[in-house]
Symmetry: C2
Subunit: 303 residues, 2 copies
């Protein structure tokens, strides 16, 4: 099953040419989820050949402009190109007020149902699930209310070993039961263990997204042992003062956090506009956590 | 004196790759004015090497997203890069409410003074002037309240013909009077006409900006005899029904309007996303008005 992240924006608050405000697209089994939606996200989607109509769920971490100012434009364009299918947006409570005010004054009456779900920043909360994935929001520590998001793949049922079940003449009706862990008893009384009739299902993967936050211990319980951790790394560690003042993280801290929560891989991003060359950020993070990658726009990262 | 228009966005409501929502930059004697500010305008400014801090006045025609959704991000970035100088924004009354709501929830307290001036869409009104230019808003006919803007260069004082005044030994103290139309009387009683002592000042130029509008006679009085007329041309004339329904104009109509108001040159833009090749729009407008040009992003057009 596919579980990949496309970086649409890698810049912090002020964009520079070639680096856009934060947005990520997550493909889980060909279903698309958008995480944050900075200004220009709809153009980035076009650039990378993603039809916006495939997106059903949009998660907004917080209400600093670089994380949501592309949302109204994206929702508008979905409307203008004739979307009928519902869109669900998850974000801080005031997001609905902002969306409503914009559409009130543009006199836009969306032709598709739009559901805006308020997140809270007090505790971890499961905010969405379907057959493939469960999405939870969790509090980060930024200047204003801000949540990260964690995507946990659901454990899949094991696949039937068709060669064996056919050789044993097991009727198809029994297969769903075997998948769910029932042993099969043949007419002659022989018991076949379900584990022997199936292929073990893969271990579920997880992705955690930590947009803007200062480093604290408070959110580490929520991001334990992910396959891929995205963590902001706005500054080099020699600008720690500035990071603390603006409630951001340094590349060294991002690496240390990834090690602390036993992530398998780390993706850093949300780079300050002052860094034209990103390699020093990468190298700094790697001193604490070797499996670090730079979030680069247009690249897919597998979870 | 410079009087040029840079196209930052040429697309109508839904952007396509390489065509952004509406925004234009006007350079009048090295002072920069922004007209409309669609999503991504700040990135377009970076792309074309324009420092946003040089912009002091921003004019917003109406509150459809493709004309203002880049404003909050631009104002934010000006704040983040340390702007101190005031910014004046002119637009429909609800624009202030939208700006205030966004900055309330992002807890942004701008470090520079921001003045938001409400325009009205009932009559033409002079909304700004300085020593070089006078800017007026005027009503257009769109689905929601919408104004165009007209930039009228002020008549400059004539330049002194230094060779003549020096040959005649006219003291410098008299020159400002001569510039303002006073004749010079020499000590021997000879009268020198001010016209003979100066070079005629150039005829003031004017630029009118007609963003979204259906074709009506109502706004033609406001856009008479401009040196450059920008007029939207969202559709080809074979889509007139769609143009009427959405309160837009066709390329043929834009050309006819330019001829009717005796513009010297016409610039068309705000192209529907359906037109990948823009030449048919250009050709259609030219059938009614030869001096038509296509608004192309990154190009400067002299007024």
């Amino acid at each position: 099953m596919r579980f990949d992240v496309l970086i649409l924006g890698s810049s912090s608050a002020t964009p520079i040419y070639g680096r856009h405000p934060t947005a990520q697209l997550i493909n889980i089994n060909e279903q698309l989820y958008l995480v944050d939606c900075g200004e220009g996200t709809q153009v980035q989607l076009i650039k990378y050949g993603i039809r916006s109509n495939r997106i059903k769920h949009i998660f907004i971490s917080h209400l600093h402009g670089d994380h949501y100012l592309g949302l109204i434009g994206l929702l508008s364009s979905m409307h203008l190109i004739g979307r009928k299918e519902a869109v669900h947006v998850y974000g801080p409570p005031a997001l609905k007020e902002i969306i409503d005010l914009n559409f009130l004054h543009s006199q836009t009456v969306l032709r598709y149902p739009l559901y805006v779900h308020a997140t809270q920043d007090q505790t971890m909360e499961m905010i969405f699930e379907n057959e493939h994935v469960q999405v939870s929001s969790f509090p980060l520590d930024h200047r204003i209310a801000c949540t990260g998001f964690r995507f946990d793949e659901k454990k899949r049922l094991p696949a039937i070993d068709r060669e064996k079940t056919e050789a044993l003449g097991i009727p198809n009706d029994y297969l769903p039961l075997i998948k769910r862990g029932h042993d099969y008893v043949a007419p002659n009384g022989t018991v076949y263990r379900w584990e022997d009739l199936t292929f073990a299902s893969p271990i579920p993967r997880s992705y955690a997204y930590c947009s803007d936050t200062v480093r604290t211990a408070s959110y580490l319980p929520y991001i334990q042992q992910t396959d891929l951790l995205y963590h902001e790394a706005t500054f080099m560690h020699n600008m720690l003062d500035r990071a603390l003042e603006t409630f951001h993280t340094t590349a060294l801290q991002a690496g240390e956090i990834a090690a602390q929560v036993q992530a398998k891989k780390l993706l850093i991003g949300h780079y300050s506009a002052r860094y034209k060359d990103l390699n020093p950020l990468l190298e700094e993070s790697k001193t604490a956590f070797e499996a670090t990658q730079l979030a680069q726009e247009g690249n897919w990262y597998s979870v």
